[in-house]
């Protein structure tokens, strides 16, 4: 299976996003950290998870779209070849 550049970059973006979510240290006073994800009862973590699921579904749909596009192209080319031959 071939990996499109789009697939790679979106996978990378997801990985980076999850790194940011997981690699959090406990809050230390005075030092600025990415505390937003732990604010408001950690609801942001759930939002990030749902957003990641949605992003995954969208990436899947886009890849499917492209593969079907390629199939359509192949079929059209074969059709035009056949019409030239006969």
């Amino acid at each position: 299976m071939q990996r499109t550049p789009f697939f790679k970059s979106s996978l990378l973006a997801l990985l980076l996003l999850s790194q940011q979510v997981m690699a959090q240290q406990p809050v230390t006073s005075g030092v600025e950290m990415a505390d937003q994800l732990r604010a408001d009862g950690k609801i942001w973590v759930v939002v990030a998870v749902i957003a990641a699921i949605f992003a995954g579904i969208v990436v899947y749909l886009i890849r499917l779209d492209r593969q079907i596009g390629k199939l359509e192209k192949e079929v059209n080319e074969k059709k035009s070849e056949n019409s030239l031959r006969f």
Binding site: I43, V46, V47, I50, A51, F54, V58, L61, I62, L64, D65, R66, I68, G69, L71, E72, V75, K79
Partner: protein, 219 residues
């Protein structure tokens, strides 16, 4: 990928709906509590399903008028996506009902009507599978599709309103009235309807294109 603007629009709208539906301000209601946010996700599923079913019926009518097999193919794929949304709507509704009405499937007229409706659409798919002759399958299932839709709409929109129902907008409960709906929720609900409909059209388009390729390969 040609004509991708509406797919981009669908993704942008749904991203907004997910973020603002979960984090935006909502009315404070007893019993419902934060679960009122489901209005932004569960309700648009049904709206989108109805829109997809209307489109399916339009293509069924078009098939009967013009007799093109391509219209029949589009009609069945719109119905397929609509059924997927309907099943998801039942599941999400059951989760929500379990925590607010105390039962995943309370004896509510709207729920039972929807169950009957979903079974009728399952029968549509079984009916299609039982024909070998393409023309016959297309013609009879197109007629059935129109009939099912004509029964489904009164079943879920009119009959539940004539009795007592737990759903807002039924049996004297106000639909989207001032008590359970406010402009903050509307700002997410309506974009959610548009976004989910576009996602449904996208899935349908992929399936239609795949079947067209299959048809072209068979020729």
């Amino acid at each position: 990928m040609k004509n991708i603007w509406w797919k981009v629009l669908a993704v942008v709208i749904m991203t907004y709906v997910i973020f603002w539906g979960l984090l935006g301000p909502v009315p404070r209601q007893p019993i419902l509590n934060e679960s009122i946010r489901n209005v932004s996700f569960h309700v648009p599923l049904w709206f989108a399903m109805i829109i997809l079913l209307v489109t399916s019926v339009i293509y069924s009518v078009r098939y009967l008028r013009k007799g093109r097999m391509d219209d029949d193919l589009i009609a069945v794929e719109f119905a397929n996506t609509a059924i997927l949304f309907g099943v998801l709507g039942c599941l999400t509704g059951a989760i929500w009902a379990n925590f607010t009405w105390g039962d995943p499937w309370p004896n509510d007229p709207k729920l039972n009507s929807v169950a009957v409706g979903m079974l009728m659409y399952m029968a549509y798919l079984i009916l299609r599978g039982s024909f070998d002759d393409e023309q016959r399958r297309a013609r009879i299932s197109a007629v059935y599709n129109i009939f099912v839709f004509a029964v489904f709409i009164p079943l879920i929109f009119i009959l539940p309103r004539m009795t007592d129902s737990l759903h807002p907008g039924n049996g004297g409960n106000p639909a989207f009235g001032k008590y359970d709906m406010d402009n903050n929720l509307r700002m997410v609900l309506y974009p959610g309807v548009i976004g989910l409909t576009l996602i449904g059209v996208w899935i349908t388009q992929l399936r239609v294109r795949l079947r067209r390729v299959k048809v072209a390969m068979d020729e």
